[in-house]
């Protein structure tokens, strides 16, 4: 039986304490720089904040995972190494990494600290996962959000490490760690800078007919009627036209959230070791609500009780939600 650990987002020290208090088994966070994939203004931790947060979490029996999951561009590798050194000094329980150079450095320099393979490494086969396990002693892989549950079950049999899957939050469409869409339009790179559709490049424009368009770096990503709520302009959730789709359509995916609450028992049965909740950019109240609800559901399932899935489904009420690739191959 898998332990079904709950891995929760901590974008700020306050959110970290909230997640810990709401029952997270582990929290994940990053420094205030390009070394992590949520390098957004107003988010993340100074080394001093991380020190206090590690103490707070450990006092309550919660682990702290440090995301160092971007790809250092040549000439800037030291920033990632210093972040790893700082994290090790502050006693984080694991590093979440994607770059082979970063993984190699940590495996050699801090062999006592666990390595988790980030979703940004895009390891989606047993062979790819074993490459990282055998070379860097990776203890856990965060699987890309592209596999069905039967496929996850098969992978589990062929790898020597734990599996973590996303269960809730933003639904990434592209293979993570292989996406330069944001850099193409804005000049800021998801892989190298930890930036995706940066707020500094976002603009909402009201038109004469009352409609609203959302723009990224001057490109129209979506448009909304006078009564519609305008969504955030993420390139892979945008509306575009194609030669035979002149009306405009969501070429990649609709603006939609991942919610796997109904699949929790199946995922546990498939051998998934840890469940990740996305959302380091989210508010404290969001973190409190989501973490508490999943804590209750996971505890119920582990105790053999019927979990109240309806509460979890309601978390995304009013928004579109999906089980993504996990339920059926037809998603592809």
């Amino acid at each position: 039986m898998s332990l079904a650990e709950l891995i929760c987002p901590a974008g700020t020290p306050a959110a970290l304490r909230t997640a810990v208090d709401a029952g997270a088994d582990a929290v994940y966070c990053g420094f205030q720089d390009a070394t992590n994939a949520r390098n957004f203004p107003g988010l993340n931790f100074t080394p001093e904040e991380l020190a206090a947060s590690v103490a707070y979490a450990h006092d309550k029996g919660t682990k702290v995972l440090l995301a160092l999951n971007t790809y250092p561009p040549a000439g800037k590798v030291d920033l990632w190494r210093q972040a790893a050194d700082t994290g090790a000094r502050l006693g984080v329980d694991a590093f979440i990494v994607a770059d082979m150079g970063v993984a190699d450095y940590i495996a050699r320099t801090h062999p006592g600290v666990r390595l988790h393979l980030s979703v940004q490494a895009a390891a989606s086969s047993p062979e790819a996962i074993r490459y990282y396990c055998e070379n860097f002693a990776v203890k856990r892989v965060v699987l890309p959000r592209i596999l069905t549950i039967p496929e996850i079950r098969e992978i589990r049999k062929e790898i020597p490490c734990e599996i973590e899957t996303f269960i809730f939050g933003n639904h990434g469409l592209m293979v993570e760690g292989r996406c330069s869409l944001t850099n193409y339009l804005t000049g800021q790179s998801t892989n190298m800078d930890g930036v995706c559709s940066p707020a500094s490049d976002v603009e909402y424009r009201r038109h004469e007919d009352g409609s609203m368009s959302s723009q990224l770096a001057g490109f129209t990503i979506d448009c909304f009627g006078p009564d519609e709520k305008a969504g955030y302009p993420t390139i892979c959730k945008g509306r575009y036209t194609a030669p035979h789709r002149s009306e405009g359509y969501y070429a990649f995916e609709e603006p939609i959230s991942l919610n796997l609450s109904r699949l929790l028992p199946d995922l546990i049965d498939a051998g998934v070791h840890a469940f990740k909740i996305e959302g380091r950019q989210r508010s404290k109240s969001y973190v409190r609500g989501v973490v508490s609800a999943f804590r209750q559901a996971v505890d119920d399932i582990r105790a053999g009780r019927q979990a109240n899935i309806a509460d979890l489904v309601a978390l995304t009420e009013g928004q579109k939600q999906t089980q993504g690739a996990f339920e059926t191959k037809k998603w592809r």
């Binding site: 790809y71 250092p72 561009p73 040549a74 000439g75 800037k76 590798v77 994607a98 770059d99 082979m100 150079g101 190699d104 450095y105 390891a123 989606s124 086969s125 047993p126 062979e127 790819a128 074993r130 490459y131 990282y132 055998e134 070379n135 890309p144 592209i146 496929e151 469409l173 592209m174 293979v175 760690g177 292989r178 996406c179 330069s180 869409l181 850099n183 193409y184 339009l185 000049g187 790179s189 892989n191 190298m192 368009s213 129209t220 990503i221 448009c223 575009y240 036209t241 194609a242 030669p243 035979h244 789709r245 070429a251 990649f252 995916e253 690739a325 191959k329 037809k330 998603w331 592809r332």
Partner: protein, 308 residues
């Protein structure tokens, strides 16, 4: 000019679903007419396409080698399904020709035997390149979004380890790959019943914003730039920084003529400015970009600094 003479011009693998017949004709011309040194072959994007053209590979390899080209086989960028895992393992088991690996599953299968690192492998920095070299990599193609200062550092480190260093200098940039097929989605289908509709778009399916601005190209599970990367004016700078191989990506234009222009500039027989003008004429209606190289938005076209 001696340094430039040593620079190799390469042709990347065809990203699109060109028909078997179109591929045979394309490579016959490349073999006979194109001043290209090395040619990468094989299906990198979609494993469903491979059966259409892999039977022709031995003949194409032979033809290219007869034309004096070095041939390298490239592996799939996405490896998830059983057939993809098998294709990757089979490729990694080959002794000849050389192979270029685009997924960690291929690295796992290849072990310490010599191989090239493809552009999907995320060799962003000197530490990763050093790791890869220690595992048998002989050559590395850098990610298309790497800016010039990082190319210089990466190239220097790779050269010091004896590796070849490659940068894409022409053609659409790969911006993303996915498990989902966006060609199929555009036609209301899924990947499993796609009916190979991507064959209709030999240079990718254009996406425009709803206010009619060209933005991206769809190629099956891949999303590409609308613009062609063009680093012809920057070639000399990159070579001076240690880049040894310049990669042209096959687009639906006269690739023999494109290669000839790059070759002429490398040989010093044509001025970059004049070649650039001719390149634009060859690629009528296509926008060019070099923003990634200058650390700016990738779609942008930045004027090169005047040569000192």
């Amino acid at each position: 000019m001696a340094v430039r003479d040593m620079t190799k011009l390469t042709l990347g693998p065809i990203a699109y679903h060109w028909s078997a017949e179109a591929r045979r004709a394309f490579y016959a011309r490349i073999a006979d007419e194109a001043p290209i040194d090395e040619v990468y072959l094989g299906e990198v994007i979609c494993s469903k396409r491979a059966p259409f053209h892999e039977a022709d590979l031995p003949a194409i390899i032979e033809r290219l080698q007869r034309g004096g080209k070095t041939v390298i086989l490239s592996s799939l960028a996405e490896v998830m399904l059983k057939r993809e895992r098998k294709a990757t393992a089979d490729l990694a088991a080959m002794d000849a020709p050389e192979i270029e690996i685009n997924n960690a599953a291929g690295l796992f299968a290849r072990g310490q035997r010599p191989h090239r690192i493809g552009p999907f492998m995320n060799a962003y920095n000197e530490a990763t390149i050093a790791w890869m070299a220690a595992q048998g990599a002989t050559h590395v193609c850098l990610p298309a979004e790497l800016p010039a200062p990082s190319i210089a550092v990466a190239a220097k480190a790779a050269r010091a380890l004896g590796l070849g260093v490659e940068v894409q200098v022409f053609g659409r940039a790969s911006l993303a790959v996915s498990a989902r097929c966006y060609h199929a989605r555009a036609h209301g289908r899924t990947k499993d019943n796609c009916q190979f509709v991507c064959e209709d778009d030999p240079d990718g399916m254009p996406l425009r914003t709803t206010d009619d601005r060209p933005i991206l190209r769809v190629n099956g599970i891949q999303t590409q730039s609308e613009s062609y990367i063009d680093l012809l004016p920057e070639a000399a700078q990159m070579i001076a920084q240690g880049v040894t191989h310049l990669r042209l990506m096959p687009q639906a234009v006269d690739m023999v003529a494109v290669a000839a222009l790059f070759r002429d500039v490398l040989d010093g027989t044509r001025a970059p400015g004049a070649a650039e003008t001719m390149l634009r004429e060859l690629c009528d209606g296509v926008s060019f970009s070099n923003g990634f190289f200058y650390g700016q938005a990738g779609y942008r076209r930045i004027a090169a600094a005047a040569p000192a």
